[in-house]
Symmetry: C2
Subunit: 196 residues, 2 copies
């Protein structure tokens, strides 16, 4: 039996080797971003939370930006999972848009890092691949469903993405009136109905 604990296993038992530090750092980083923001995130505070030395995070992520890049990658993977879970995207693309906004509102820490280019290494291969896969899941059916049959699929998809992304960003930024922010999903369905 190994002495070093996995996440949550053998509480109280701590050894030199943590066992699953990378995953736990990512989890704690998301918590910290939720509590303040990506700007307020601090590698030393993060290390304090997890109970390791202040230089431990740098070993796993190289950099503060590297940590945020990993958060963004995780976010794109989560987004992709939620988008592909939508039953019948081609004939009911509205639900894909709803899933997109729901993801943004439920994972605001991830979302804010994912779409802030200044917060991660822009050419990181993992990031590029995760973003590509999420974009593929989003476009799965987006091209087919849109207002005008006369417009090209690419234009339809871009319009749909812009609409749901803009709504999510404005909502997260606190720029929308209270009645919209109270029931964002209903408001989204109203405006999406104008497009689809």
């Amino acid at each position: 039996m190994s002495k070093w604990r996995y996440a949550g296993a053998m509480p109280g038992t701590r050894s030199y080797h943590h066992g699953d530090l990378r995953r736990e750092l990512l989890r704690a980083a998301v918590d910290l971003i939720d509590e303040s923001s990506a700007y307020g995130l601090t590698l030393r505070e993060l290390a304090r939370r997890v109970g390791v030395s202040h230089a431990a995070p740098a070993h796993h992520f190289g950099d503060k930006v590297g940590l945020l890049t990993a958060v963004a990658v995780e976010g794109f993977e989560l987004l992709r999972d939620e988008l592909v879970a939508v039953p019948d995207p081609a004939s009911d693309f509205m639900e894909v848009g709803v899933a997109y906004v729901r993801f943004a509102l439920r994972h605001r820490a991830h979302f804010s890092v994912m779409f802030n280019a200044d917060l991660h290494h822009p050419h990181d291969p993992d990031l590029l691949e995760a973003r590509r896969a999420a974009g593929e899941a989003l476009n799965r059916g987006a091209a087919a469903a849109a207002a005008g049959e006369g417009s090209s699929p690419a234009v339809n998809a871009l319009a749909a993405w812009s609409l749901v992304h803009g709504f999510a960003a404005l909502c997260l930024g606190g720029n929308l009136p209270a009645e919209v922010e109270d029931e964002p999903e209903a408001a989204l369905r109203s405006i999406a109905a104008l497009l689809f």
Copy 2:
């Protein structure tokens, strides 16, 4: 004749009192954000650029966040100016959306700070007023012009704002294909035509 120089006046002559430091700090701050990002902005580097002591900015803006708040206020005022310059918004709302996106692309430093709630004091009265005025200019005609006459003006305006804001945000984030980012205005007109 006063010895202390206004911005650009009497080059080489520097006295204790700068004369127009606040404005010059704002200008240099926007330059710095353009060169790197709001994250990369540093009060000390800003002071170095302008040629004052490292604590001078804090005297005018109180805080680093206060400086960014002032940048956001200036941005909302600029945005409002560009929106009200659109000739006939009620009958040609598409041009208001184009002006919105054009502002975002031409003033990306301002834009990124304006819509990042973590970057400024959210309850600053100047910020609230400037944002309200800009929103008023945006809604001027947005309610009237939209796809379905059966939908409410508020829904129309929200849809239009979401579309143009989402497009601008995605474009600035580098999330769109190259052909779109090369000619953003043409792409915007294509997707906006689906809504208006």
